[in-house]
């Protein structure tokens, strides 16, 4: 039959319900973009909280943001941009069938993600030492505003949710390194690298907005 002949010609990674490799690749990518839309709206709720409180209490945000370390925030921005570059280069390595480069670039991305989390750890512990905790645990007295804890609740929710996304990204990129070492990727099939990179770039984009909104209020 004509149909069974067509199926026999498909590459081994193409599932039976797709016409060909390109269609499967495009479908996976569209699915990832739809997931990213839900992620944007997920973070969107926190951005709305930020906008509402900043509109109500602009002076609070100017006073409280002085407690955030702009240098550390700027370094973390650069670290995430570098990690976006390495994962974009990893896709290129997969397309060009450079297995060694693919593993090196994915591992560099993981290293940069850890660097981000370590800097975040130092920022958080410094604030905890001062008594800057979220919500009702807030005990810091250096900001003369009755709603100072509200700013830091927003700060912790936004940066911690972002940090969780970085940790999840580390896990998924780790899986990519494992699969790459087992020779699972080729120029014909590298879909997991592509869609994990899309996720990682979105995490970068969220931070690109968090950095000026939280750290750069003067």
């Amino acid at each position: 039959m004509a149909n069974s002949k067509q199926i026999a010609e498909k590459a081994p990674h193409v599932l039976h319900h797709f016409v060909d490799s390109d269609q499967q690749f495009e479908s996976s990518k569209l699915g990832m973009w739809i997931f990213l839309v839900t992620e944007i709206l997920f973070f969107g709720g926190l951005f709305v909280a930020y906008i509402v409180y900043r509109a109500l209490h602009p002076e609070l945000f100017i006073m409280a943001a002085e407690q955030l370390d702009t240098t550390m925030g700027a370094i973390n921005t650069a670290v995430l941009i570098a990690s976006s570059l390495t994962i974009a280069m990893a896709i290129r390595a997969a397309q060009l069938n450079q297995k060694r480069n693919l593993i090196i670039l994915l591992s560099s991305t993981i290293a940069l993600a850890f660097t981000f989390m370590v800097i975040k750890y130092f920022e958080y512990t410094h604030k905890f030492d001062l008594g800057i905790y979220p919500g009702s645990y807030y005990t810091f007295e250096g900001i003369d505003h009755e709603l100072a804890s509200v700013f830091f609740s927003i700060y912790y929710m936004m940066t911690a949710l972002h940090g969780i996304h970085v940790v999840i990204g580390i896990v998924f990129i780790g899986i990519l390194v494992y699969k790459a070492s087992k020779d699972k990727f080729s120029p014909e099939y590298y879909t997991p690298v592509e869609i994990t990179a899309l996720y990682w770039h979105l995490v970068d984009i969220i931070w690109i907005f968090l950095f000026p909104l939280l750290y750069l209020i003067d």
Binding site: D22, F25, E26, K29, L30, W33, I34, L36, V37, I40, L41, G44, G45, F47, V48, I51, V52, Y53, A55, L56, P58, T70, A74, T77, A78, I81, A82, S84, L85, A88, M89, I91, R92, Q95, L96, L147, V150, P187, E188, A197, L198, H201, L202, D204, I205, I208, F209, F211, P212, L213, L216, I217, D218
Partner: protein, 100 residues
């Protein structure tokens, strides 16, 4: 296989370079102490340029199926609706919020 064209290495490196330069600019403009509403406009403007660069080049939207761009932009449209409708409530209340 036309969809799997690898980007030139220089395109990726220049994009990352532009993003780093824009990061330096966004920090540097805070030293100018631009008056209140405009500092937010400048900061968000630079952030939007950076996000656009990431989306177009690193996320490949520029060369990709345009439907993915439509999907991405739809999330921004709905986010703006979310912001607008919420502010229509919170900015125009006769009775202020309680403890918050």
């Amino acid at each position: 296989m036309s969809a799997h064209h690898a980007l030139p290495l220089n395109t990726l490196l220049y994009t990352a370079g532009a993003l780093l330069i824009l990061t330096i600019i966004t920090v540097a403009v805070t030293w100018l102490h631009i008056p209140e509403p405009f500092n937010v406009v400048v900061a968000l403007g630079i952030a939007t340029i950076k996000a656009t660069l990431v989306a177009l080049i690193f996320m490949n939207l520029y060369w990709d199926n345009k439907f993915n761009t439509v999907v991405f932009l739809s999330s921004i449209v709905f986010f703006l609706v979310f912001v607008l409708i919420t502010l229509l409530d919170t900015l125009f209340r006769d009775v202020p919020f309680g403890i918050y």
